[in-house]
């Protein structure tokens, strides 16, 4: 290679702006993160501005956009979204998001606010159902309450405490001669009692946690049909905002069960939370 050629290559090399290129590359690498963070705040603020102006449909759009940008559900955003849906009289979506907010909220004030708005929305749904003749389902009866109680943290904690006490009693009975011989009958009764309670509570909690998933109906007076298809006869109407159990699925349809036991098929897009349905079942 001649000296002239080397000189030209060196000149070309010298002309390439390595510094700015590096900066740009770094900026491009960092930009998505920064931009994403800004987009979240911007969408969230836009939603609140629309809400302040009473444009609830726009507010919902912005909040939904915010939700899609976040890596995980946020309790405050779910509360705002549920409340905006309630203001826009979309009770089904409102019930769903307020329930999510209630589940995620760690702050007492936020939890209380979500609970209150949820009760207001459910009363509205009750009124609408009363005027439209549609059925309501909230899975708020004593069975559902017992089921929720069994899967509650306090019950599970109590179950584990009883299990721990059972383990201790078992240890004392097995390894400490004083308990094993001196008070043998007493410790045995205590051990058996704790063991039975521990196993019983554990089984009840485990069974209660299983079962069919819950979903929320969206829309007003939604038709529920006798089978998976529009050609089937209409069985009854269910009010939007009702909480139902998803029992089966067919393409585009879900089989639901109301709290009172009525079952029927509903269009899939009329449910929120029905994506994780049970195994496929044949439609009639």
């Amino acid at each position: 290679m001649s000296a002239a050629a080397r000189s030209r290559r060196r000149a070309r090399s010298r002309r390439f702006p390595w510094g700015p290129a590096t900066l740009i590359a770094v900026a491009l690498a960092v930009a998505p993160t920064v931009g994403r963070a800004d987009a979240v705040d911007e969408a969230y603020a836009s939603g609140h501005m629309a809400a302040a102006a009473g444009r609830w449909a726009d507010a919902i759009l912005e909040f939904e956009r915010t939700r899609s940008l976040l890596p995980a559900p946020n309790a405050a955003l779910e509360y705002d979204l549920g409340t905006a849906y309630a203001k826009d009289n979309r009770l089904g979506e409102a019930v769903w998001h307020l329930r999510v907010a209630l589940r995620l909220a760690e702050e007492d004030a936020l939890r209380e606010a979500a609970r209150r708005n949820l009760s207001v929305v459910q009363r509205r749904a009750d009124l609408r159902a009363e005027t439209s003749g549609a059925r309501r389902s909230s899975f708020d009866g004593w069975r559902s309450r017992v089921r929720r109680l069994l899967v509650a943290d306090v019950t599970r904690g109590l179950t584990l405490a009883i299990g721990t006490a059972w383990g201790i009693a078992l240890f004392l009975q097995s390894w400490i001669p004083r308990f094993a011989h001196g008070k043998r009958s007493g410790i045995r009764v205590v051990t058996w009692t704790l063991g039975v309670v521990f196993m019983g509570l554990s089984a009840a909690s485990w069974l209660s946690a299983g079962g069919s998933p819950e979903a929320v109906v969206v829309g007003d007076a939604v038709e529920v049909r006798a089978g998976a298809g529009a050609h089937h006869s209409r069985s009854f109407l269910v009010q939007g905002g009702s909480v139902v159990r998803v029992m089966g699925q067919a393409p585009g349809w879900r089989q639901i069960r109301l709290e009172e036991g009525l079952t029927g098929w509903i269009l899939e897009d009329r449910l929120i939370g029905a994506q994780a349905g049970p195994g496929r079942s044949d439609s009639r």
Binding site: K87, A109, S119, E130
Partner: protein, 632 residues
């Protein structure tokens, strides 16, 4: 049985048989002459309307030598009789060895009442020179106005025009052709009514020849709101002595919707003359079309005098209205139902109840409307129930205002007003009026007390409670929230840990118990330990003197010998112990050495012992012996 009693029984039986055989002819001959039975197909008729009367005369051919004459109809001035037909039948019976024959003659008459009244059809026949009257006399009641001029009455038929039901059908013209033997007409219960006033219209198809009749088009009720009435069964009517089959094909209650001269179209029939019946029916002649005779009704407008403002012309009839609420007390935000019931006769489905005023302090929802009508006679009556859901918005007494509904009563030809009374319901404070939150969201608005938050702060939203406002965060958390609490997986892990520990404790104890030596082995181990200790003590006593050494060695050796010989050797003397040891299978040299050592140990108590080396040698020998017996 004595002779007297036998005579009495035989006499009684003979009297009974004689009485029975003697009475039978008397009963049979009790009814002298023919019997007359009169039947009428109607009990109540209108004046001018024909009905059928049948007279049945029965004669016993063997008994009644002379046949009776024709029936003599009662000479009532208000009844006209037209003889139609007669028939005769004969029956023969064989009973008790006697053949009897009975002849039945049936005479059929078309009877028309020309004057109102109650008529007894006392029919008689003449037999053997005397009149025999019917045993059962039917009574027919004729209602309506007397006929002054039969010719003036509207006669049904193809050329008869519209005939109002209740007017005498009169004599139809003799049907000479098939087309004149089938016709249709609309009969209405009134010819002059008000707008909205109900009348009954009946489309009748008359026929007096066998024909297949198809309805091409029904009557036209375009200017009327109509309610279907139950169809009546076909019936036979007699007009001018001719029998017609009348089919009431359509029967409706009509509510005229406008004033003027309205007509109800007569419909169109397709008639195919035929003969035979059932499967054997076959057409005879050419088919033809029959245009029904329409009915013309003069509908008067409702009078302007006394008409309430905004009066609906559908409110014609006679109505009452009542209202009630389903509870006496509610909480603010709760709903209750106000029920209005309109009851009466008229066009209930179209009646306009008017606007129901919303109560002050209550929000109303669109009402539900239920109409329940019945056909009673020729009237449409029933109830219309209007339920309004009301949500109480604030505490206090909520008054449901009185409601009034104006209607036109066609009977009195005047406007009336039906009213309800105002209702009061007590509204208490809402259940969650004390507010719910502790954070900034749930704080009651400034200037309002907590108890009034739900009812005062929300404007239009107060009915179901106030939606708390949005919660605007400074910055949304981007983090993934911790699962927190006792999730199912966490609970499962903790449960598994506890259960595993418990089962481990239990299992370990079971394993230990399984591996623990038996009591025999333990006892042997203890024994061996004691032998070792004894041997050690003896070794320690080698230098101290004979008595202590041999005493310790003797105890060890005796105990080992007893253990080797078995439990039966316990407590035996030395010689017997050694014998027992020999019986247990021990070697003779070992037995001899045990005997000699035990003797030496006993002798050591009296002195004159061995030196240290001898004692050590004896100790070692005993140790070897115990080792042989596996007791060290």
């Amino acid at each position: 049985m004595s002779r007297g009693r036998r005579r009495f029984v035989v006499g009684a039986l003979g009297a009974a048989v004689g009485g029975a055989t003697g009475a039978r002819p008397r009963v049979a001959s009790g009814a002298q002459g023919p019997s007359v039975v009169v039947r009428s197909d109607r009990r109540q008729v209108r004046v001018g309307e024909d009905f059928l009367v049948e007279v049945e005369v029965r004669t016993d051919d063997r008994r009644d030598a002379q046949s009776p004459g024709d029936p003599v109809m009662p000479a009532e001035p208000g009844l006209d009789y037209t003889f139609r037909s007669s028939s005769m039948s004969r029956s023969m019976t064989y009973r008790n060895g006697v053949m009897s024959s009975e002849t039945t003659r049936t005479f059929s008459y078309a009877v028309r009442a020309t004057r109102p009244g109650t008529y007894e059809l006392l029919v008689s026949v003449e037999a053997a020179g005397r009149a025999i009257f019917a045993t059962q006399v039917p009574v027919v009641v004729a209602t309506g106005a007397a006929l002054e001029d039969e010719a003036a009455s509207g006669a049904p038929g193809p050329t008869g025009g519209a005939a109002r039901e209740g007017t005498p059908p009169g004599a139809a013209p003799p049907a000479q052709t098939a087309s004149e033997s089938v016709f249709a007409r609309v009969v209405t219960s009134a010819e002059r009514i008000f707008v909205g006033e109900p009348i009954v219209a009946q489309w009748e198809v008359w026929q007096r020849v066998t024909a297949s009749i198809e309805i091409e088009s029904l009557p036209d009720f375009r200017d009327f709101f109509s309610v279907e009435l139950p169809a009546l069964d076909p019936e036979d009517r007699f007009v001018g002595g001719r029998q017609w089959r009348v089919h009431p094909a359509v029967r409706r209650v009509l509510f005229p919707q406008r004033a003027g001269t309205l007509s109800v179209g007569g419909g169109v029939l397709q008639v195919q003359p035929a003969s035979g019946f059932g499967l054997f029916r076959r057409p005879t002649g050419r088919a033809f079309t029959v245009q029904g005779t329409p009915a013309v009704i003069e509908v008067r407008p409702l009078p302007a005098e006394g008409r309430p403002p905004h009066f609906s012309p559908n409110n014609v009839g006679r109505y009452t209205i009542s209202s009630e609420i389903d509870r006496a007390r509610v909480r603010a935000g709760d709903a209750f139902t106000v029920t209005y019931v309109i009851e009466g006769a008229g066009n209930l489905e179209s009646v306009d109840p008017g606007e129901f005023a919303a109560p002050d302090g209550g929000r109303t929802y669109p009402p539900t409307d239920t109409v329940n009508t019945q056909i009673v006679g020729e009237r449409v009556q029933g109830t219309r129930t209007i339920e309004i859901l009301v949500v109480a918005e604030r505490a206090g007494n909520l008054v449901i205002p009185a409601h009034s509904m104006a209607y036109f009563d066609p009977d009195t030809e005047s406007y009336q007003v039906a009213r309800t009374s105002p209702l009061t319901i007590e509204v208490t404070a809402p259940m969650d009026a004390a507010g719910t939150g502790t954070g900034p969201i749930a704080q009651p608005p400034p200037g309002t007390d907590a108890g009034a938050q739900d009812v005062d702060a929300g404007g239009a939203e107060t009915s179901e409670g106030v939606l708390l406002p949005l919660r605007e965060e400074d910055r949304l958390s981007r983090g993934v929230p911790s699962a927190g609490g006792m999730s199912r997986s966490r609970f499962g892990l903790a449960w598994g840990g506890i259960a595993g520990v418990g089962l481990s404790i239990w299992g370990a104890r079971r394993v230990v118990e399984r591996l623990r030596p038996s009591s025999e082995v333990a006892r042997r181990r203890q024994m061996v330990g004691e032998f070792r200790d004894g041997m050690q003590r003896a070794a320690d006593l080698l230098d101290t003197g004979d008595s202590e050494f041999y005493g310790e060695l003797g105890r060890v050796l005796r105990a080992a010998t007893v253990a080797r010989a078995g439990p039966d050797a316990e407590g035996l003397t030395r010689d017997r112990l050694v014998d027992e040891l020999a019986r247990s299978g021990a070697e003779a040299s070992a037995c001899e050495y045990v005997r000699e050592t035990l003797e030496r140990c006993d002798a050591a108590r009296f002195g004159g012992g061995e030196d240290v080396d001898d004692r050590r040698a004896r100790l070692e020998r005993v140790r070897v012996l115990l080792g042989t017996w596996r007791m060290l």
